[in-house]
Symmetry: C2
Subunit: 300 residues, 2 copies
């Protein structure tokens, strides 16, 4: 029988990510295969979600009490919205087992450090994580055990974190099918700002701009939505509260990327106004070059 990564694991928050992790842990109980956790305890702030989690068999035990759910766990993974992370961490801190690893799955990482480091017990290793995976759906029914297969999970442990704790969290994610990369939290937030947060902001905004057009034009915008606009509305279909939290918690990096983007868009506007053909073609060519690189990296 292989060694489980964790004897007892607690997952707090059973939305898309939390319930997917829980399903993966529960699906991984073959006597021969690797075992992510010998025992899984789960908790969600919503009584309705806890009830549904029990019906779905998402954990060995779905606790009704947050403090009780983390007692005795070797590791606790917070899967709550980013805006609730600090409060939940504060509440569980006194109840964590000696030396338990604390991790999370939030989309922004500097806020986690900012909110959790000041209240972190000295014996608790903090290994924040961010799986680059998701769908436009949410809630405990939306999760599935293969969500992390072949995806990245970025880890941003603060300096001085016990390397053994980092290594166990990495083993856990590898067992979920993900690849891991460790990086600085500020660097993480800048990369995600351009890769994910700014594209979502632009998609939400163009939908709003279209919605502001006069009634007749708006109807035609819908009727004649060519591929460009349709792709934007797909991105814009995501959960409002989750994205509000992401925008606010990655404010500095996002505003910087938006400022760079706006400068570039204004330069394009100027080139269009004055007919600077070579500038326009150069910018378009760079988009194609990035697309080619992406395809070469087999990300497409």
């Amino acid at each position: 029988m292989s060694q489980a990564v964790f004897e007892r694991l607690a997952i707090i928050g059973l939305g898309l990510i939390g319930s997917s992790l829980a399903r993966r842990v529960m699906a991984d109980r073959s006597p021969a295969g690797p075992i992510l956790a010998r025992e899984l305890v789960a908790f969600d702030a919503s009584a309705e979600v806890r009830l549904r989690a029990r019906e779905l068999g998402l954990a060995d035990l779905v606790a009704d009490d947050l403090a009780a759910s983390v007692a005795g766990a070797e590791a606790v993974i917070l899967c709550t919205p980013v805006g609730a992370l600090g409060a939940v961490a504060g509440e569980i801190m006194p109840h964590l087992a000696q030396g338990a690893i604390l991790s999370d799955v939030g989309s922004t990482k500097q806020t986690v450090l900012r909110e959790v480091l000041p209240i972190l017990r000295p014996d608790i290793p903090l290994v924040p994580g961010h799986p680059l995976a998701g769908t436009e759906f949410s809630g405990p029914d939306a999760g599935f055990s293969t969500l992390f297969e072949g995806r990245w999970c970025l880890l941003t442990p603060p300096e001085g974190t016990d390397p053994l704790a980092i290594e166990r969290i990495e083993r856990f994610w590898h067992g979920c099918g993900a690849r891991t990369r460790t990086m600085d939290a500020a660097h993480h937030d800048r990369v995600l700002a351009i890769v994910s947060h700014l594209p979502h902001l632009l998609a939400f905004t163009i939908c709003g701009t279209a919605d502001d057009l006069a009634d007749e034009t708006r109807q035609e915008v819908l009727e004649f939505a060519a591929s460009g606009f349709r792709d934007f509305t797909r991105i814009a279909a995501s959960d409002p509260v989750m994205w509000r939290d992401i925008f606010l918690s990655n404010r500095d990096a996002l505003l910087e990327m938006l400022a760079r983007f706006t400068e570039d868009a204004q330069a394009m506007a100027r080139a269009i106004r004055w007919g600077d053909e070579s500038f326009i073609v150069d910018r378009i060519e760079r988009g194609r070059a990035i697309r080619r690189s992406l395809i070469e990296l087999k990300q497409s």
Copy 2:
């Protein structure tokens, strides 16, 4: 035997759209079915493309001379890049048959009127068209006969155009599988600016912004491209010269939509900077509402 829409049709320019139209006309020769054109003559400025068009059997006759290709045709459809339309129209004008219908497939429509109306012979009805169809590929090999199936073709004839000429062009597009809608050229350009041209401008720009980041970050942008950014690069993979022409020929409407969008993006930036949660959620909700409307319209 059914009546053909045109006895003799000329298609000028055999890229994606022109070669797709040509394929559709040639595929439509069953004795029982409707016949789009009893005879199809095609021309392309490139000798190489003409050679390939003959190999592919894209027309009854691939002419080597532009003037000769339109002689005796009841209708001529210009499928050249928008930037070349005016010059080509000027060159063929003296050679058009008495009363021949002149049409095109360009993505912007005010420029067509601006360039062609001053040189238009009084006996020639002008029925500009714009099929909302395409792929990211180009050239005579990229076309296919079903490209227009179920898509819109927008027509922008100037006031006073012979209704019978408009009706024949509509019958032609219906025979290609498309739906048609007639509208004012300025209105067309505004709708397309928000539905297609601005989304492409934003996609090209964000790829350029990402490309400008420091080397280390750029590599990671490629590695960690989440769904948001990846969708943008797909849009940004289109043909540079075609898009340069579209941006320049729809300059006024595009710059106006970009200005509206930029105001909206700045308002979003301000809300993020000052933590105006309800503003942020409201803008995100509007994107979702538009997405829902699109799905209801079965455009998705």
